[in-house]
Each structure stands twice: as structure tokens, then as C-alpha cells.
């Protein structure tokens, strides 16, 4: 299999960060790979500071990796990467953003402060 390239346009920064922006990553992938695979690849090989929430990785049971992909709410772990047009990734709409793709999804009673 030859590696294909997906372009991920990722929302970076924190809410109070004047430098908040989209950053684009070129991610090599094989058929079947997911957006979460691509983000984990970026963290291991390119930019470890990229923040994304996930737990079960591949089973779609924890539901922690819910983000907005091209404006639609979706699971990063089940959305396939594709070639061509960039895929735009944002934190969940309607929830406070904490950093990059991580939004505040903890139930209010499960916060420390």
C-alpha cells in the first residue's frame, strides 16, 4: 500500500489566546485510517503539544473524541481520513474550548474547582 496524504486543518490555541488560529498538517495514511489516527501521528512525530481528548482509541465506546469535522459533530475515531480537500477540525461547538480540540465536556460536578 502506498501512503496517501491527508490535510488536517486544526484549530489551535486557547480561548484567551490572541494567536488562536488554524494550523495545517500533512498526514500520511493508509486506507482505513481515521482522523484520530492522524492526530495521534501528529503528536508522536510532529507536534506533541496538540491537545485532543480520547480514551478508548478504536472501540467507539468512550465517546471522548467527539469534535467538529468540517462543521459537523463527529467522532475522530470513526471518521476516515481522505486525500484532497483539507479536513477542518474544531472543538465541539457549544462547549467552552480549553485548548486546541479539547473542550470542557466534564459534567460540572466532576471538576475539582
Amino acid at each position: 500500500m502506498t501512503a496517501k496524504i491527508a490535510r488536517l486543518r486544526v484549530r489551535r490555541g486557547t480561548p484567551d489566546d490572541p494567536a488562536a488560529r488554524y494550523e495545517e498538517f500533512a498526514v500520511p495514511f493508509e486506507d482505513g485510517a481515521t482522523v484520530l489516527d492522524g492526530l495521534i501521528w501528529v503528536r508522536a512525530r510532529f507536534d506533541p503539544s496538540l491537545a485532543i481528548r480520547y480514551s478508548c482509541i478504536n472501540a467507539n465506546v468512550c465517546k471522548e473524541c467527539t469534535i467538529a469535522i468540517d462543521g459537523r459533530v463527529a467522532y475522530a475515531c470513526t471518521t476516515r481520513l481522505h486525500e484532497g480537500t483539507p479536513m477542518t477540525l474544531d472543538p465541539l461547538p457549544g462547549k467552552p474550548q480549553l485548548r486546541d480540540l479539547v473542550s470542557e465536556t466534564r459534567p460540572p460536578r466532576e471538576k475539582l474547582t
Partner: protein, 558 residues
């Protein structure tokens, strides 16, 4: 004054941790603090369980805990801590029926009995489940509902415990990092339960969630507890390999084999298990350690499938049977281009469960007063090889015991007397790291490399040379810890979390590699190419402890 004070601190909120919190409250603890690095009740291993839960309910045939224990001991290849195995098998029926009272929804036969199937290694149908492939999510949701009803239980998500705090040899609490803010948090606790699960995330091929990085083992070692049976990592033999599936646990073929049999074939399309002493004849009977060994041997001999595994075929199973057993899943497979009637899938061993863990007695007490363990974090109950279906009852039974014991211990103890500067070094480290640090080395890259290293050198096949190579590389990675870059920004900083994950993972990995190097025989999940025989003189467990200088040492029970 600490940041938080509690009677019982439970670290890890999967099945074992949630149950431990319930049991601690039931046992009279007025303040129970249940924390998880992920989201409470969402991370961990329990929620990922596909199907089997072993308990001698005797719904399908005569059964009792003694028979369950006999099967567990046989699967453990002579190494089970019998008191722990007996606790698991003895408590399982009550825990499983209690889950039913809490409306978990175990699958039932047409006549109303709870359905129980015979899994490999069980002498009778003993494993119940929630359809379809929904055991883990149903158990996790049930426990989340229960803990939500108990006012004494305070839940905190995204809190990573980095260090336990001891005073005078007793556990008095912990230091943690609040992921959302990057702040250091000190927790005074009269008793602490470690329920952090296993370490299979340290391997490249794994069914584990992100949380199974071995942190609980590192915490316990550093606090003065001992670990046991650390060399025994269970590789689930038929983890999904190809074609790529997403959104489905790679363990999913286990339930398919329970219900439909299926045939395991090598690259040449031939059945091969009989050559390893296990003639399945279409049924699913081969224990996990033997099947893993057989598959790895076929692949090593050049008789594997194109992607480096073997074939699992359901081509001979009538369509109607497939649909009846797994209707919705068959549809999902079709969307992935998989038609089980037309072609086999490829499978290969995948790190699934850790038999080793914190050494405890049947009250789940470690040798450190005030420190308890529950669930997969505990070592010994399953010896050298775990029987399928024993993980969920272990989580619930040991969670119940640990929570009850911790509450009783806390009740007899005055408020924690927190010495000046206790935990201060650990808290200072968090504060310092959270300030950020320039550097050339990324913990995320080393964690990625660690998984390849463990897979290749400390995986299903081991040699002295490979293990020594792994230990040398682990030492080099440890030496790099002070130089690892931390990105700026305290809130949700993944490089800060990575640093602590790497530190803990290296300790856990070293415990496995050292124990594996010392055991000069092959037994259960520990297979040495240079020592292929099983020796009766090795029918004893090894202990791992941490020396005063931080070295990880292997020996026997003193």
C-alpha cells in the same frame, strides 16, 4: 492543610474503581473521592469489554465456585495466588446477580434464564453477557448510575495522580495534576485504593484504552508496595488485524467464536492448532496462551497471512446463523466491506490484559498500611494465564473487597497528620514542569518508541538478549526524562501529561522486562525462546520491589 481531604481515595474510575467507591461508602466512609485521569466511568478497560463475564450462576448447568476456581487455577499454570482466585470465584455470583438487580440486562434464554456460554478453559457454560457485544458499556453505565446516587462519593475527572504520599511507612494520600488547569493538587486520604487497570497500552498491538499505561504499578512500587507475576502479559490470540476496521474493538472475534465456532487457518489455508496439541474441530476451546504461541510460531515459520497473522474463517457458517447471532454487527462489517461468508479476516495476537500487578492479601491490602488495590491493578489471581471471562468479576469482586477494607481502615484512623513538606517535592515538580521547558526530546515520541520496543523485545516471544536490549533502551529513555521538552501553557497541556505517563510507563515496562529476564523457563503467557520448557522448580511467583535508590529489583517473597 491539604487541598483536598478524604476518608478513602480511589484512583481510577473503571469498573473496579467505581465499585470500590460504592463499597467504601456502603462500608461507612463519609467522604469518598473517586478520581480518574480520563472521564469517570468512560475510560479504563471495563467499558471496552465485549462479552464474557464468568460466574458460577448455575443457570445453564450445575456449577459452583469450587469448579470455577479449579478451572481458574488450571488456566493459571500453577501460579495463581489461590486465596485471591478463590475470592474472585467465590464473590462472582453475588456481584453478577447484584448487577442484574441494578438492571444491567444480562442476555436471557427464551425460558427466562440468564444465558451462559462455555468459553475456552471453562468446564461448563459459565459466562454471561449483554447483547450485542455490549457487556462493558452496560456494566459501566450501571455503575455510573449507582455512584451518581451516593452523596458520599465525590467524582473528579481529568485528575492524574502522579505520586502517592507516605509517612512513617503508611499511605497518607497523593499528589495529582489537574489536567484542565495544570495545577498541582495534594490529597490527604486515610486510605487509598489503586484501581488504575493494567499496562497493555505499553505495547504496539493492543486492545487497550489510553489509560492502560501501567501508572498504578509505578505508584505502588514507589510507595513501597510489591508487585507480583509482572512477566505475565496476556496476548489475546485473535485480535483483529486486517482489513482495517474502525469503531470496533479488535477483540470482537472472541464473541464470534463463542457463538459460531469459526476456523483458524494459517497462510496456506490449513488448520494448524492440532499441531500444537489443541484439536478444536470447529469449536472454540484453545486457551489463550497456547493459541498465541501457535499463531506466533506459524507466522515466524513463514506460514502467516499477508499482514503477518493468520486467517479466521466463518465462510462455512450459514448466513442465517450469522444474522441471528450478530445481526447489527454483520451490517456494520458490510459497511467496512467485510462479508464473512465470502472471505476470512486476518487476526494476530494483541496485548489484552496484565496478569501481574500489586501484591495484596484477600482483603486487597498491600504491604503498605492504608494502600489497597482492585481490579486488573491487582496481581496474582490469574497466575500465568487468565481464563476468559474472569476480568469483569475480578473488577467487581476486588473492587468490593478493596472499598470495604479501605473504609474499615479509614474508620479506625484519626485525621491524617500530614507532615511538613510531605508530597512537596512531587507537587513542586508539577509546578516546575507546568512552567514549560525547552528541549529536543518529546515524551510523545518516546512513548511511541516504547510501544515498538515492548512489542518486539518484551512481547509474546522473549530471549535474554532481547530483554537485555530492552532494559538498556529503557534506561536510556529514563535518563532523558530531565531533558524532555514541555510546551508552554498550563491548561490541558498534553506534553505535561505525557511526561508523567512516560515516567510511570518506563517503571512498569522495566518491572515486566526484569521479571521476564529472571524467569528462565516458559510458562503460560511468558514464552522464552531460549528456555522453551516449563520447569516444576519455577512454579512460584516472583516479586518486584523498588530499592531505596529507585532501582527495580526482582526476587521472591521474603
Amino acid at each position: 492543610m491539604r487541598d483536598v481531604e478524604t476518608d478513602v481515595l480511589v484512583v481510577g474510575a473503571g469498573g473496579a474503581g467505581m465499585y470500590a467507591a460504592l463499597a467504601a461508602a456502603r462500608g461507612g466512609a463519609g467522604r469518598v473521592l473517586l478520581v480518574d485521569r480520563s472521564l469517570v466511568g468512560r475510560g479504563g478497560a471495563t467499558i471496552m469489554a465485549q462479552m464474557t463475564v464468568a460466574a458460577s450462576l448455575a443457570e445453564e448447568s450445575s456449577d459452583d465456585p469450587e469448579l470455577h476456581l479449579a478451572d481458574t487455577l488450571a488456566a493459571g499454570r500453577g501460579l495463581c495466588a489461590e486465596a485471591l482466585a478463590a475470592a474472585l470465584c467465590g464473590d462472582a455470583p453475588a456481584r453478577i446477580r447484584e448487577m442484574e438487580e441494578w438492571r444491567v440486562g444480562w442476555a436471557r434464554r427464551a425460558d427466562g434464564r440468564i444465558a451462559q456460554i462455555a468459553a475456552p478453559g471453562h468446564s461448563r457454560p459459565r459466562c454471561c453477557y449483554v447483547d450485542v457485544l455490549n457487556t462493558g458499556p452496560a456494566v459501566a453505565a450501571t455503575l455510573r448510575r449507582q455512584i451518581g446516587r451516593v452523596a458520599a462519593i465525590r467524582r473528579v475527572s481529568n485528575l492524574t495522580v502522579t505520586d502517592l504520599v507516605t509517612a512513617g511507612g503508611e499511605a497518607i494520600g497523593a499528589v495529582a495534576v489537574d489536567i484542565a488547569t495544570g495545577a498541582a493538587v495534594t490529597i490527604a486520604a486515610k486510605a487509598t485504593v489503586i484501581a488504575t487497570g493494567g499496562l497493555t497500552r505499553l505495547y504496539r498491538r493492543t486492545s487497550a484504552s489510553a489509560n492502560m499505561g501501567g501508572d498504578g504499578y509505578a505508584l505502588a512500587l514507589a510507595a513501597g508496595a510489591e508487585l507480583v507475576d509482572m512477566e505475565f502479559v496476556q496476548f489475546f490470540p485473535i485480535g483483529h488485524l486486517a482489513p482495517r476496521l474502525v469503531g470496533m474493538d479488535p477483540i470482537m472475534w472472541d464473541p464470534f467464536r463463542y457463538k459460531l465456532g469459526g476456523r483458524l487457518l494459517n497462510g496456506a489455508g490449513r488448520e494448524f492448532l492440532a499441531g500444537y496439541g489443541s484439536d478444536e474441530s470447529g469449536a472454540y476451546t484453545t486457551p489463550r496462551d497456547l493459541a498465541t504461541y501457535a499463531i506466533a510460531t506459524e507466522v515466524a515459520a513463514g506460514r502467516g497471512s499477508p499482514n503477518g497473522g493468520v486467517y479466521l474463517s466463518f465462510e462455512h457458517v450459514p448466513r442465517a446463523e450469522l444474522e441471528t447471532a450478530f445481526g447489527p454487527v454483520i451490517d456494520r462489517l458490510a459497511r467496512h466491506g467485510i462479508d464473512l461468508n465470502r472471505a476470512p479476516v486476518e487476526v494476530s495476537p494483541i496485548a489484552h490484559y496484565h496478569m501481574g500487578g500489586i501484591a495484596v492479601d484477600e482483603r486487597m491490602a498491600s504491604r503498605v498500611p492504608g494502600l489497597y488495590a482492585a481490579g486488573e491493578a491487582v496481581g496474582g489471581a490469574n497466575g500465568a494465564n487468565r481464563l476468559s471471562g474472569n476480568a469483569i468479576p475480578e473488577a467487581l469482586a476486588f473492587g468490593e473487597r478493596a472499598g470495604r477494607s479501605a473504609a474499615a481502615y479509614a474508620a479506625g484512623r484519626p485525621a491524617v497528620d500530614w507532615p511538613h513538606r510531605a508530597g512537596a517535592d512531587a507537587a513542586d515538580r508539577i509546578v516546575r514542569l507546568a512552567e514549560g521547558r525547552r528541549g529536543e526530546i518529546a515524551a510523545a515520541a518516546l512513548l511511541d518508541e516504547l510501544r515498538d520496543l515492548m512489542q518486539a523485545r518484551v512481547g509474546p516471544f522473549r530471549t535474554a538478549a532481547g530483554l537485555e536490549c530492552a532494559l538498556a533502551r529503557l534506561a536510556a529513555m529514563r535518563a532523558a526524562l530531565p531533558e524532555i521538552a514541555i510546551a508552554p501553557g498550563r491548561a490541558c497541556n498534553p506534553t505535561l501529561a505525557d511526561w508523567f505517563e512516560l515516567r510511570a510507563g518506563l517503571t512498569a515496562a522495566e518491572a515486566v522486562a526484569r521479571a521476564a529476564l529472571a524467569r528462565t523457563e516458559s510458562r503460560g503467557a511468558h514464552q522464552r525462546e531460549d528456555f522453551p520448557e516449563t520447569h516444576p522448580s519455577w512454579a512460584r511467583s516472583q516479586r518486584v520491589r523498588m530499592a531505596a535508590d529507585g532501582d527495580v529489583e526482582v526476587g521472591f517473597l521474603r
